[in-house]
Amino acid sequence: MTTQLDTAVAPPAQRTTARRLSTRVGRVRELGILVALALVVIPTAIANPRFIQPQSLRDLLLNASIVALLAVGQTLVVITRNVDLSVGSVLGLAAFLTAQQFADHPGTPLLAGIGFGMLIGLACGLLNGLLVALGNVPSLVVTLGTLYVFRGIDYALAQGRQVNAANLPDALLNLGSSRVLGIPVLVLVTTAIVAVAAVYLRSYRSGRELYAIGSNPEAATLAGIPKARRTLTTFVLSGLIAGLAGALWVARYGTVDAAAGTGLELQVVAAVVVGGVAIFGGSGTVAGAALGALLLGTITSCLVVLQIPAFWQQAIAGALLLSAITVDRLLALRLAKALRRSEGTSHA
C-alpha cells in the first residue's frame, strides 16, 4: 500500500497524513485480531481459570498450527488474486499416503517419510498451477475440481482402510507430542515457516512481485513480471506446504483414514481472510493469516471450555469471515476517501 502512495503527487504535509492513515489501516488488522483474541480469552479464563494454564495454552497452539501452516500457503496464492480450495484434499491425500508409507515400510527414515508427503503435495500443487497458469482458467473453479479429484483418489486408494498409531514409528508420533523449551515442535515448525514466508514476501523481489500481480495483473504483465511462472510457483508452494501439513497431521493425530482434513479449506480461507489478506489480492501478510488461524482455533477451544454446543462453531466461523471482509471493505472505502481528499483530485 505504501508503494502506491509513493507515486502519488501531493504536498508533503497532506501526503504524510494519508500515509499515516494507510499505515494505521495496515496495522489495525493485526491489532484487531489481538484485541479479538483478548476478548475471547479473558472472559473464558474468568469463567474457567484452567483455560490459561500452560498445558491448555499449548493445546491451543498445537490445534491451530496445522491450519496456520495451510494458511501460509494459501496467503501466497490469495495475494496473487487466486485461491486454492484443494488444500484440504491435498492434506488428506498426503496424510494417508505418508501414513501408509510408514506403516508398510517400518524402516522409513523420519525425514524421508515427511519428504514423501511433501512430494505428493508438490505434485498436486503443480497440477493446480499448470491448469491455472497455462489453461488460463479461474483458480476457484480449477481447485474446486481438483478438490473433488484428489479426495476421490484418496478414497479410492484407501478403500475404507485406516492407519493406526500402533503401525507408525515412534519417531513420527514423538514429533507430534514432543516439546522444545516447553513449546510443541509442531508450533515451532509452523512459526519457522511463517517467518521464512514473511521474509520472502517482504524482502525478495519475487515476493514483492506477488503483490504486484495481485494488485493489478495487467500492469504486472506490462512491467515484465513473469505472471504465469509466479502463479505456478505459488500453487506449487501451497501444495508443498499442504503436503507437509499432511505429514504433520499424521504425527499429531496418529490415526489416519481417507477423510482426513475434509472441509479444512473453509477454515483456511476463513483464517486467511480474517487475518487481513484481501480476497481480491494485492495485500496481506502471512503473520496476519497465522494469527487469523489462531483466533479461529481459540474460538473453537473456548466454545468447548464454555460448554457451548460444538454445532455453533461453523456458524461462528462463517459470521467471523463475513465480518472480516465487511470491516476490510469499510476501511478500504475510508482510506480511498482520505486519499482523494489529500490529493485534491479524484483519480484515486
Partner: protein, 316 residues
Amino acid sequence: MRNLLRWETALVFLLVVVALTGQVSTKGSFLDGGNLFYLGLDIGEIALIALPLTLVIVAGEIDLSVASVLGLSSALIGWLWNAGWSLETILPTVIVVGAVCGAFNGLLVTRLGLPSLAVTIGTLALYRGLALVVLGDTAVADFPASYTSFGTTPLPGTDIPYPIVLAAILAILFGIALHASSFGRSVYAIGANEEGARFSGIRVKRIKLTLFVLAGAVAAIAGIVYTFRFSSARADNGVGLELAVVAAVLLGGVSIFGGKGTLFGVLAGVLLLGGLRNLLILQDTSTEVLTIVTGLLLLVSVLAPSITRTLRKATT
C-alpha cells in the same frame, strides 16, 4: 462451421454418446422407464438449483452457499415439524427463509460491494452452521406419507418423477426470464460489462439482488424436495452439492466470467452429469470414482471454452 462448434451441439452429441453407451452396456435397460425415473430423481435438486444459479453466473457473480441453504431449509422443516407446525405452514416459511438467506448474500454483494465468492464462502459456513444449530446431529423422519410419496412415486401413468415436473415448470419460467424478457437481456448486459450496463440505465444492483433472492428461494425448494425424497430432515443434507451444481452449470457452457451461456445448455449439462453418474452406478462403480468424475467434468468444462475458442480461431 461456427454453429457446429457451438458448445450446446457438443453437449447433445455427448448426451447421445452416453445414452447409446448406456443402452449397449446394460442391454437396453438404460433408457427404460424405471431407470430414467431414478435418473430423474437423482438430478432433481441439481436441476432445480442450476436454474437460478445460471442467471447468477451469467450476471458475473457466484453463489456457493446454495447447498447450505438447502441444508438449512431441511433442518428447519425437521425442527418446525417437531415443534408441531403443519407442513402447509412449514413449506412457505422455509421458502421465505431461503429467500432471506439469498437477500442477505445479495445485500452484502450489492450494497457493500463485496466479492460474491468471499461472501458466499462465508455464508456457506454460516447457513450450514445455523442448520446444525437448529437441528444438531439428529434426524427427523416421521413425515406423513402423503408428502414423502412425492419423492418416491412418478406422476400417475408416466415415469416422470415429481421433482422433474417442478424443475420443468421452473425451467420454462427461468427460460422466459433469461431469454425472452428485458430482464434477461439486462442480466447478460451486466455479465458482459457491468459499467456499461450501469451507464445504459440498467438497475444493476436491484437485478443482482433479485438473482440472489431467487437462488436462495429455489435452493430452499430443493431442500424441501431433498427432505421428502429421503424422508429425512438432517442438517447435513446436501453437503458439497454446490460443487455438482456449479459443475453442471459450467458444463452447460455458461462462462464463469459472466455474459455467456444458455439455459438449454445448462439443462443439457445437468442431464449429462446425471446420465454419466447413472451409467457409472449401473456399472457398479464405486462412489469414489463418481467423485473423481464430477471433479474431472468440472475441470473439462472450464478448459473446454478456451479449447473451442482456439478451434474457432483456427477455422475462421
